[in-house]
Symmetry: C2
Subunit: 564 residues, 2 copies
């Protein structure tokens, strides 16, 4: 089934659910009028439907490959990328000073949502560039900005993030890539990086790597990490791609999904790099990239959930039954109560996960405009949105396979690819376990103030909404407050034992709030809200029950017991 | 990591959890002494570890393929199949009269568990044969039995099930394959069947198809379906494979997983078939095959869950961290509370799903030995075990990927294959939605007597076990009783709206019971039981809450609303 861009859904969410008017009310984003946003999303949607979506299965069947050290991308990817870049889709929120559209992150989030649904493997490329642009805008020197940002913003060049090493994944502090001062203001970067998405391609004029490495005598752990910009081709005096840098793609990974996206093992052999930010302060810049990327990856989940839901609804509506199942039915498997249940769950989850991503984007935009409370709110929502968005993508893609029955297991149908592609989203940019540790650790380091403010606001709004659904949401917000209090009373590792269920229960409460807001808009919205609040929200009881178990019981089995 | 056969776990479960001694106390199975069973499982385990498991990834990389109308299987499959057949692993429970070992279904279930964990794609083959043997034993004429059973039992020939047609999947009654009497006691079978697992191979002397088809003027729907035996090669007077029958493999499917198992589109073009059972009574024979296959597919989930858990524990225990995470820790990611949580959940779920499969097998064996109450208990447990086993396989394989982090997304690691392979188990032999309809429909047609007896027994045993865990299980059994009562009070389609959550909540209660039994055996078992009962059992509250919603709200969205 052809992908349809959900532009009306975005308009509904921006207007009725996430209060996007607060963003356009700021001086910074006054130009993002409804007409401008509508026109931009309409055009981006058209490109995604017509140009990008047709590349999705082709890229799965003809993966990116390494030929004599050079990455060859799937047929059509170059043209697809160019279409996105020309429409400004690769840098919606980049600074106009360097050619960006300067639009809110919220708008970029809508565009990324559509591009990811159309072809997630290709969309990984601009997502990495967007994180790099933001990192350079915040931490780069004026020279680096002047040289790199215009070309990254235009899409002429693209960017990557180089964090992981074989022995240093979630444990970033264990990385050993070296950076030695060359004496001329540059550095020589030496080491191996793995899992580098889009580490090379055959359609941009240059590839700009941001690489975490250690200076000589740097402190151990994360306090001794610096960030370097390492271009594939070193720009000449005119800023054009010049001589090749001392780096190469060693190999590509064979992955469960995202076959079109080349996941590279990169070798740096004394490559020339430029420091970004202060020495030993690389983690700050990394978190700038990471937070951007975490929202972007949350959206990956939403994208795939939407595409999977569209496909499942279309399949069910066309799959005829030999005999009528219910009176006045459609004569298709849509008449099956359980098929309905699955489709409504897919729609209800997709709606909630998308609303959360956009809610987070709005808080980021307001934070950028100077609202510290919104910035703190965004910090709390980031791990929740990343985990909930990606778990939703996986769950909904999996359910979409189920709706298709035997056809779901056949690759030609295309819905198995959704599950394969989206699976890694729960792992990269910080596994969802790491997100939970961030929420229960760093994001509670204010004594629970930011979380408390968020929960209070949910409860007050739910009580204000009233009715049986409002009462359910308010009651679960109170249960979330209790679970938060329980967390705050525990040692850190004890919190971590229940952090994932706590986070997923938190997501349920937020999801219910978004549905409650949507329910005011009409009967179909209200029916979906009732489904979510009566059927899915109660899961949070079980999740909070698990969160209250802490960590002690998790160490009752010895490693030998686990292996037995 | 090499697969290790869980022979000690089987012995524990048979002895302490599922009461296998009740089976060996019957006259029918008196010969299945602990020593016999131990020796057989030991030898089967050795073959699975040494011969079958090494074929798993090879079969994924080099799928079965169709060459000039003939299926070519992956390298090593022929030898692997032969090793299984020679050890009697393909027909553990078949009647000794035709060369079978005549051992209980419970023992066959243990063997299938190991074979499926070692190489699920290959194990699909004997599983289909086992169902065919059982169907022929119950419904075949003496002539058919005498001719086919010895060769099927020895593994010289193998069997398939031909149910599905393009327009008739879950809706079996819609099938249109024709069977016309030839006048000589045989029939001419004409039609197309799809999704035929192991529809052909290059390592057995014949392939025997059981095909559902319609006689001329048969009643519509499922009441007009008959079952036919249709061999690939028609046996000559001496019973040896003779001339080719008028059937062919048209194509193989390209699937998400199980690449080694050829999933065939079969074309019957006036093929010669023999009636199995009475005319228009094919559904009865089909259910004999199906019930066997449903237990077998439940075990597929258990198999993969076990293999995925073994791999994840081994990976975590070997994945070192740069710095110690907890005092007295291992220095590996095993120290992470959330990694522990995932591993314990994987182990706790695998244990419960395996216990349920074996509990079902024991009830089947006791039912075969003449105990009607146990047969009724088996009928209730079958859909629950099929759904819980397969959902556990999918969930645990998915969690295993997460434990591996980025490595989990790389195909070389082998754990992504587990998820790909097991995904279809929730679909074939009746989707899990169909299982739920069976439980809430047919299996409640006695007014809830069989379910009530099962729930009463769980509650009584939990109360008898006592302690906080016993009390929790008893309380949830009471909640299950209430949910059952609620179901019984509803119209059929209204039950179906909550049937899947009801079934999964039912599974949680049964799983808790098995853990409660195991907890008496020692501290590691007790720790795992506590984990399951305090962390996972509470999910049932949310599931029963959803079950109570019925179906009415599921039709509040129009097909257009769903597509919007």
């Amino acid at each position: 089934m052809p992908y349809r861009a959900p532009t009306a859904e975005f308009e509904f969410l921006l207007t009725h659910v996430v209060g996007f008017d607060r963003v356009t009310a700021t001086e910074r984003h006054a130009e993002a009028t409804p007409e401008t946003v509508r026109a931009l999303l309409g055009e981006a949607g058209r490109i995604c439907e017509e140009v990008i979506a047709p590349l999705n299965r082709a890229g799965d069947l003809q993966p990116s490959r390494l030929e004599n050290g050079v990455v060859r991308t799937p047929p059509g990817y170059a043209e697809g990328y160019r279409a996105m870049a020309e429409a400004g889709m690769t840098a919606i929120s980049a600074d106009p000073e360097h050619g960006g559209l300067g639009l809110p992150q919220t708008v970029a989030t809508c565009v990324n949502d559509m591009a990811g649904a159309a072809c997630l493997a290709l969309q990984m490329n601009p997502l990495m560039t967007q994180g790099q642009i933001e990192a350079l805008e915040h931490h780069g020197s004026d020279d680096l900005k002047a040289l790199y940002l215009p070309k990254l913003t235009s899409g002429e060049w693209c960017g990557t993030m180089n964090l992981t090493e074989p022995q240093a994944g979630s444990d970033v502090g264990a990385l050993t890539t070296k950076a030695e001062p060359a004496g001329d203001g540059t550095y020589r970067i030496t080491g191996q990086k793995i899992y580098i998405s889009w580490g090379d391609n055959d359609f941009t004029g240059n590839v700009v790597h941001l690489v975490l490495a250690r200076l000589p005598d740097a402190p151990r752990g994360t306090k001794g990490i610096s960030l370097f910009l390492v271009p594939k081709l070193i720009p000449d005096a005119a800023g054009n791609p010049g001589v090749a840098n001392a780096l190469k793609v060693v190999s590509l990974e064979h992955k469960l999904g995202l076959h079109g996206s080349p996941t590279c093992v990169m070798q740096y052999e004394g490559a020339t790099g430029w420091l970004v930010g202060a020495e030993n302060d690389g983690m700050a810049a990394m978190f700038t990239m990471m937070n951007n990327a975490r929202l972007g990856v949350a959206v990956h989940g939403v994208s795939v959930a939407d595409a999977a839901t569209q496909a499942a609804v279309a399949y069910a509506a066309g799959r005829r039954q030999g005999r009528p199942l219910i009176e006045g039915g459609t004569g298709t498997i849509l008449d099956h109560a359980d098929v309905r249940r699955m489709l409504m769950e897919m729609k209800a989850e997709t709606f909630a996960a998308r609303a959360m991503a956009l809610d987070l984007a709005v808080s980021i935009d307001l934070g950028h405009a100077g609202d510290a409370a919104q910035a703190a709110r965004a910090a709390v929502l980031t791990p929740i949105a990343k985990a909930y968005g990606t778990e939703t993508g996986i769950k909904v893609a999996n359910m979409g396979i189920q709706v298709h029955g035997g056809m779901g297991f056949i690759e030609e149908t295309g819905v198995a690819q959704y599950l394969r592609d989206v699976r890694v989203s729960a792992i990269y940019e910080g596994t969802n376990g790491i997100q939970a540790m961030d929420l229960a650790g760093r994001k509670m380091s204010d004594g629970g103030a930011a979380i408390g403010a968020l929960v209070d606001a949910v409860e007050a709004e739910a009580l204000d909404a009233g009715g049986d659904l409002g009462a359910e949401v308010a009651a679960m917000a109170a249960a979330l407050r209790a679970a938060t209090g329980d967390m705050l009373g525990r040692e850190l590792n004890d919190r971590f034992g229940g952090a994932v269920p706590y986070m997923m229960g938190f997501a349920r409460v937020m999801g219910a709030l978004y549905h409650l807001r949507a329910a005011r808009a009409g009967s179909a919205r209200a029916a979906l809200a009732r489904f979510y609040i009566t059927r899915l929200l109660p899961e949070a009881h079980g999740l909070f029950a698990q969160a209250r178990q802490g960590a002690a019981d998790l160490y009752d089995l010895s490693p030998d017991d686990l292996a037995a």
